[in-house]
């Protein structure tokens, strides 16, 4: 390692910490989110430095991009509601840090506000101790450890793909990924099970956004397809491709596009679950010839992984875009709507 590299890594580490701190401490929530997105982008840089381009892609697309979009749209909705109830104050510009923590103390139930400083100092002290202990534990680890790199390398040629990360995700530890797809679906089910929020896209998207989406969406679709295809041998894969697909969806949603009602019922549900459905079916089919659950035979592994990933990409993309949209689509005709009149929740 050259000195320059050390300096770069050191600087990156410090900047990350500084950005994280600014994100958390900034008085303005909007600014906090923007800083968080910047933090995510710098994280991708760190992943590149750590030789993890797959994660860098995932972090940039999901960690910074989509999470950022989710946060921003949530903040916007928070403010709309605030405007409706008449206290914009408390949301955007609120909360200089000390005032905020005073509230926390009240929330934690520590009682009167002049006690909170003591609590804060105590917490800082405790957490510093924790951090120091953890740092000691990390530093005590031996400086060289192969991990599972050899096992992965030895089995890579029978995994059906040549990108080791994809091999681990879809083959060696495919079961984790199966459950992870379930988590993603679960998030959507959870969001849909909540009451609908009032529709808030009142403003027309404007010409620029409209043009931009016309230009970008086809490009994003291409990129998604490419990432999916290339994932078997180079950085990329279903999650990265899926999130790029979701980005296209988000852009369209922002531009005011809404899918026709007839696509929102069954077709939408189908698209949401196809990833998991294909994954589970493949997993089970592999048991027919006497194999274990999810045991992909080397000869077909490549093709099967591509099949799973294609379905997964579609589902991930649609799910993430639907999460961005935020609530159950209105035109869904499943059982009589129960949402009472606005304020009253059942």
């Amino acid at each position: 390692m050259t000195l320059l590299q050390w300096a770069f890594d050191g600087l990156l580490g410090i900047t990350l910490i500084w950005l994280a701190w600014r994100t958390l401490a900034s008085a303005d929530l909007f600014k906090a989110i923007v800083l968080f997105i910047a933090f995510g982008l710098l994280m991708s840089l760190a992943w590149v430095r750590l030789n993890a381009p797959d994660i860098a892609l995932a972090e940039a697309a999901i960690g910074a991009g989509l999470t950022g979009a989710l946060l921003l749209v949530a903040l916007a909705r928070l403010n709309v509601v605030a405007a409706q109830t008449g206290d914009i104050e408390s949301n955007t510009k609120q909360i200089s840090a000390p005032e905020d923590s005073a509230r926390t103390t009240a929330v934690v139930g520590q009682g009167v506000s002049n006690k909170h400083n003591l609590f804060q100092y105590f917490l800082v002290l405790m957490l510093s101790a924790v951090a120091a202990g953890l740092a000691y534990a990390v530093l005590s680890l031996p400086s060289e450890a192969p991990g599972l790199s050899r096992d992965v390398a030895e089995n890579l040629n029978v995994s059906g793909v040549s990108n080791p990360v994809t091999a681990v995700l879809l083959n060696f530890r495919g079961y984790d990924t199966l459950l992870e797809m379930a988590v993603l679906l679960l998030a959507l089910l959870g969001v849909w099970s909540l009451n609908r929020l009032p529709e808030q896209y009142e403003s027309s998207p404007g010409l620029v956004l409209d043009m931009l989406s016309r230009l970008l969406v086809p490009l994003l679709l291409l990129v998604a397809g490419y990432l999916l295809w290339v994932g078997s041998r180079a950085p990329g894969g279903a999650f990265q491709a899926g999130s790029v697909l979701a980005a296209a969806g988000v852009l369209l949603l922002l531009a005011g596009w809404r899918p026709a009602a007839r696509f929102l019922g069954w077709p939408l549900r189908f698209a949401l679950i196809i990833g998991l459905a294909v994954f589970v079916s493949v997993a089970l089919l592999m048991m027919l010839p006497g194999g274990q659950l999810l045991q992909l035979p080397p000869a077909f592994a490549g093709a099967l992984i591509l099949l799973i990933e294609t379905a997964a990409t579609l589902s991930i993309g649609v799910t993430l875009a639907a999460l961005f949209y935020g609530s159950r689509p209105r035109s869904e005709q499943i059982p009589p709507h129960h949402t009472g009149s606005g304020g009253e929740n059942e």
């Binding site: 534990a137 992965v152 530890r173 089910l189």
Partner: protein
């Protein structure tokens, strides 16, 4: 397969929302049947290890089933089936379309969790479990439930983060996240101690051991009854199960001081939870605090760390799952019936809902630990274990806890027989709902009668023997 079945059920329920009732129930029956099939297999051939994808640990993920996981799966199937039936009767269709997919995902998570031998896989299962539980709490709607769900979500995520950080340390120490391999390679290093501390705290947070229990009462009390029952009976047990596995197999070197600490926290939980329960004015809050108290008992086994103590804790866990779910369902019936769950205004429900009240009383018998109930066997084993080790302190706390439990249970039953000042219009409660609660409570009692058989099941692959062997070795050295 126990994991794939509920997953398929979820997908079907999501695709065909109109048929959720039938589809869900069919899935529930199928899961229960396959749990029984697993029991049969284990009885035939002892513990089973299964390599998903055929790779085997450390590269792949292994599943592992022994007596401990089997019992957890069986109890999940029993309680799950009962709650499925109850939910179909209690929720309207517009809730059911959301309830079923979420509940089946939760079931997936529980089954995955009890079968997995891989710590990272357990992390994913834990997240699946936590998020589905949160979504189910939020199903109740209203600001109290939403707030409770939000708090629960944050706590759950924090717990997972702590767990994951500990897991990272373990992986980088031993190049594996498989429980069996870690157990072989285990040695006492700073990284291992840090990992143990992180993972234990993370899991305790999710298991709501005193003083990390603050999130539990609001979450369990504000959820719909069927969900409360699930949470108290099964979900908190999920993280406890991982904790048990970790302490029994991965960190057997650590029974002395940390075990004492867990025991002390457990004792504090028993007393604090009991006292708080007694002070509550709302029935569901009372039951929720009772859960805090009963969870404390499970941790008394950690300082004792003998086979008998572990079995006692396990027995208590099983009977608590049955009794507490019965109690929450009964409370749900009372809530529906009277429109409120204020204890002092229960107004002679004894005559109006005899089955529900009987369920509550029977469940109470097991919670208090009166003879022939499952709770009695569990407490008896724990008490005996404490006496044998000559540690009287634990025994005293346990008995005090039972007295507190008796006090708060009788408080409720007393009000149920007296006439309240406020009479209210009664809502109809379907027979199914009373009956399911009653069956669960009855099962908690029956658990006391089949003790020899259950204790034999626990011995499949002797999950509890290892630690005491290690302890004896330590004592001999």
């Amino acid at each position: 397969m126990l994991i794939v079945l509920p997953l398929i059920g979820t997908l079907l329920c999501f695709l065909l929302p109109r048929q959720v009732k039938a589809l869900g129930l069919m899935t529930a029956l199928a899961i229960a049947a396959s749990a029984v099939a697993l029991l049969w297999q284990l009885l035939q051939q002892g513990a089973m290890r299964y390599s998903v994808g055929g790779w085997g640990a450390p590269l792949g993920i292994d599943l592992y089933a022994d007596g401990l996981s089997l019992l957890m799966l069986l109890i999940t199937a029993t309680v799950g089936l009962a709650i499925s039936i109850y939910a179909n009767a209690a929720f309207k269709l517009d809730k059911l379309v959301h309830f079923w997919p979420l509940w089946l995902l939760l079931w997936t998570a529980l089954n995955a969790l009890f079968l997995s031998a891989d710590l990272f896989n357990l992390y994913v299962s834990l997240e699946l479990l936590g998020l589905s539980a949160v979504a189910l709490v939020a199903l109740a709607g209203g600001s109290a439930a939403l707030g409770a769900a939000m708090r629960y979500l944050l706590v759950s995520l924090l717990g997972s983060m702590l767990y994951l950080l500990g897991l990272a340390l373990l992986y980088h120490s031993f190049a594996s996240v498989d429980i069996a391999i870690l157990a072989q390679r285990m040695e006492s290093t700073p990284a291992v101690w840090a990992a143990m501390a992180l993972m234990t705290v993370g899991l305790l947070l999710k298991t709501a051991l005193f003083p990390l229990h603050f999130w539990l009462p609001p979450a369990h009390a504000n959820a719909p009854a069927a969900v409360s029952a699930l949470l108290s009976a099964l979900v908190v047990k999920g993280s406890f199960y991982i904790l048990l596995r970790l302490w029994l197999e991965v960190f057997p070197l650590s029974h002395a001081a940390p075990g004492q600490l867990l025991g002390l926290l457990g004792a504090a939980a028993i007393l604090w939870g009991g006292v708080q329960a007694l002070r509550q004015t709302r029935l569901k809050m009372l039951i929720a605090y009772s859960t805090v108290s009963q969870l404390g008992y499970l941790f008394i086994a950690f300082p004792l760390a003998t086979t008998m103590a572990w079995k006692g804790a396990m027995y208590l866990l099983l009977s608590h799952a049955l009794a507490k779910s019965a109690m929450f369902l009964a409370a749900g019936n009372l809530l529906l019936f009277g429109g409120h769950d204020r204890i002092t205004q229960l107004d002679r429900v004894a005559q109006r809902l005899p089955l529900t009240l009987a369920a509550f009383a029977l469940a109470g018998v097991s919670i208090i630990g009166l003879p022939i109930s499952g709770g009695f066997i569990g407490k008896w084993l724990l008490l005996t274990a404490a006496m044998q080790s000559g540690e009287w302190g634990w025994a005293v706390v346990m008995i005090l806890g039972s007295l507190l439990a008796a006090a708060y249970i009788f408080k409720v039953i007393g009000y149920a027989f007296t006439q309240a000042e406020v009479t209210h219009e009664a809502c109809e409660v379907s027979k199914t709902m009373g009956a399911t609660a009653f069956v669960l409570a009855l099962a908690a009692i029956v658990l006391g009668l089949i003790a020899p058989w259950l204790l034999a099941l626990m011995d499949i692959a002797e999950p509890f023997a290892m630690s005491s062997a290690a302890l004896n070795a330590g004592a001999a050295a």
